[in-house]
């Protein structure tokens, strides 16, 4: 399983990671080696096996539909890199 530079760039774009040319090359090699090691899973016949997303599934029930206090806006905004009033501010998306 050899990843191409193009595939590395595609995955980095999906993950919203800007990579330097050195990083692209390094991850291409490292991820290729890791994925190659993962190839051994293909040897297992899992045709009739159901997937497990959580090993322990307990029905912990539904809570009562009552209002409980949550974090007040000032506290929720306290760590924001930028804010306007009671909103998080982000760089402009459309002109």
């Amino acid at each position: 399983m050899k990843l191409t530079l193009q595939e590395v760039r595609h995955v980095a774009a999906l993950a919203r990671l800007s990579l330097s040319p050195e990083e692209e090359e390094r991850y291409r090699h490292q991820l290729s080696a890791i994925l190659e090691a993962m190839e051994q899973l293909k040897a297992l016949d899992t045709e009739n096996v159901l997937p497990t997303s959580h090993a322990i599934v307990e029905d912990s029930g539904l809570r009562q539909d009552v209002v409980i206090p949550s974090i007040e806006p000032a506290k929720a905004l306290a760590n924001a890199p930028d804010k306007v009033g009671t909103s998080f501010a982000v760089p402009k998306i459309i002109e």
Partner: protein, 488 residues
């Protein structure tokens, strides 16, 4: 010279506090002095909250004086991995992307510790977002193993294990996604417990892989681990995976011994590349348990060799989704980006995440991406089913399973950082337990050449922590490994 008080177990200190032989303020100050004396070399702490801890200790002493202790461990100082949100105290999960983040609330487990009266002395170093097995991927600095400062304490809860081993603190909390409590415990001669998935709340624990993450104690005795679990094992309505089942009294049967118990020894857990000294120590531990009345049963967990590959697809896939939240909008780092929102995301994440985290985000994103989902992620989830069924089948024949915790003793800092696959192999014996959601305990069981600790792993049926602790306690009672302290 370590002051004698710091060699006490949590329950021993609790006894001394109850008898008013020592105050919580004195115990807390002893820890602070010890940190001052050794932490420049061990580097277990990212942050120390002396003021908060001393205020909590003073309040505890007032309660003890008034005969109103909040519980048996009221006043026993602890510290927590930096992955736990602590209201008003900076929390980074070992990442630059969260530098300066001040949580607006406490994780449920932190709230439970405070509610039981335990002063929290600070935040412990870890691999960035718990991704690593050596604490070297911390964005701040690596932690050193108190038994040999040129070696790693393991990871990702390496700061927690090192601080407990170095007698800087009486006990600590860590998290375990693929071995991150048990492996550092094994490498530092401490006791580490990963409870059953769902036994302890994950609310306010910075997420790595949500179907695998679990919170647990690192201590110097099995009894202390039981006492801490007793505080933590509470249903939390804020975590939908938190169990409703009432926790048993873990201490009431812990001295019951192993007589008549059937202990499985899985042949697949004696892996190629295992240090012969580790294998020898574990086989000796097994015969010790047999001598104490347990029956050893040869068991097979045939899909063990596929667990590593399944884990390193599932965990990065979940991580890539969980870490999407670090986008420079609500908290944490925001990189300057004149080009607009998309560039801001790209630059923030490039500047904020370290190499191992980027590697796992890339791997997980790839495994989930169009065209590869079935071949990698879905395949891994199916293999997860087979691994879980292996355990359930074995537990029809045995009460618990014993093995080594880590295939090797502590390795040198820098030895594996450039070889991700070699580092991932460090989790080969611990991660199947996470895939199956089982409880797992590591207890000290000997030393390799160079005075390097070795851990025995005990795995149990879901929610059978009581029995796992009882086996660990029976072993601990017959040996003095856990009492040995590193020379610092």
């Amino acid at each position: 010279m370590t002051p004698p008080v710091l060699n006490l177990s949590m329950l021993e200190l609790a006894g001394a506090l109850a008898r008013r032989e020592i105050s919580s303020v004195e115990a807390t100050r002893a820890c602070l002095n010890r940190i001052e004396a050794v932490d420049a070399r061990v580097k277990a702490f990212l942050r120390i909250d002396a003021e908060g801890a001393l205020a909590a200790a003073k309040a505890s002493d007032d309660r003890r004086r008034a005969g109103a202790a909040l519980g048996p461990l009221d006043g026993v100082p602890v510290a927590v991995k930096d992955i736990f949100l602590t209201e008003g105290v900076e929390t980074t999960a070992g990442s630059k992307i969260l530098a300066g983040f001040i949580p607006p609330y406490d994780a449920t487990v932190v709230k439970l510790l405070k509610g039981a009266g335990l002063p929290i002395l600070g935040k412990l170093n870890q691999d960035e977002f718990a991704m690593g097995s050596s604490t070297e991927s911390s964005a701040f600095f690596p932690t050193h193993n108190p038994w040999d400062l040129s070696r790693t304490p393991g990871g990702s809860s390496g700061g927690s294990a090192a601080a407990v081993a170095a007698r800087e603190i009486f006990g600590a909390l860590g998290t375990d996604t693929g071995g991150s409590i048990r492996q550092p415990a094994a490498l530092t001669n401490t006791v580490g417990l990963k409870p059953t998935y769902g036994r302890v709340s994950r609310f306010g624990v910075i997420a790595f892989a949500s179907s695998l993450d679990q919170v647990g104690p690192i201590t110097r005795s099995v009894v202390d681990a039981a006492a801490l679990l007793q505080i933590l094992a509470v249903h939390d309505p804020r975590d939908s995976t938190s169990s409703n089942a009432a926790a048993p009294d873990y201490l009431s049967e812990i001295e019951g011994g192993v007589s008549g118990m059937r202990l499985g020894v899985p042949r697949e857990y004696f892996v190629p590349g295992m240090d012969p000294q580790v294998e020898q120590a574990v086989r000796r531990a097994a015969s010790d348990l047999e001598r104490m009345g347990a029956k050893l049963v040869d068991v097979s967990l045939p899909h063990t060799r596929y667990a590593l590959a399944a884990y390193y697809l599932i965990a990065p896939a979940e991580a890539s989704a969980n870490l999407a939240r670090y986008d420079g909008v609500r908290y944490g780092l925001r990189a300057p980006a004149p080009g607009g929102l998309r560039e801001m995301y790209l630059q923030t994440r490039a500047a904020g995440f370290g190499p191992e985290v980027k590697r796992r985000i890339m791997l997980g994103t790839y495994a989930l991406s169009a065209g590869y989902y079935d071949a990698y992620y879905l395949k891994a989830q199916k293999v997860r089913t087979l691994i879980r069924e292996d355990f359930l089948r074995a537990f029809e024949k045995v009460d618990a399973i014993i093995s080594a915790t880590s295939p090797v003793a502590a390795f040198k800092l820098g030895e594996k950082v450039d070889d991700p696959l070699a580092m991932y192999l460090m989790d080969v014996l611990t991660l199947p337990c996470n895939l199956a959601g089982l409880p797992g305990l590591s207890v000290p069981c000997g030393f390799a050449a160079g005075n390097l600790p070795i851990g025995l792993q005990i795995l149990g049926r879901p929610f059978d922590e009581g029995r796992v602790l009882r086996i660990g306690r029976a072993f601990e009672r017959e040996h003095d490994f856990a009492e040995r302290a590193p020379a610092l």
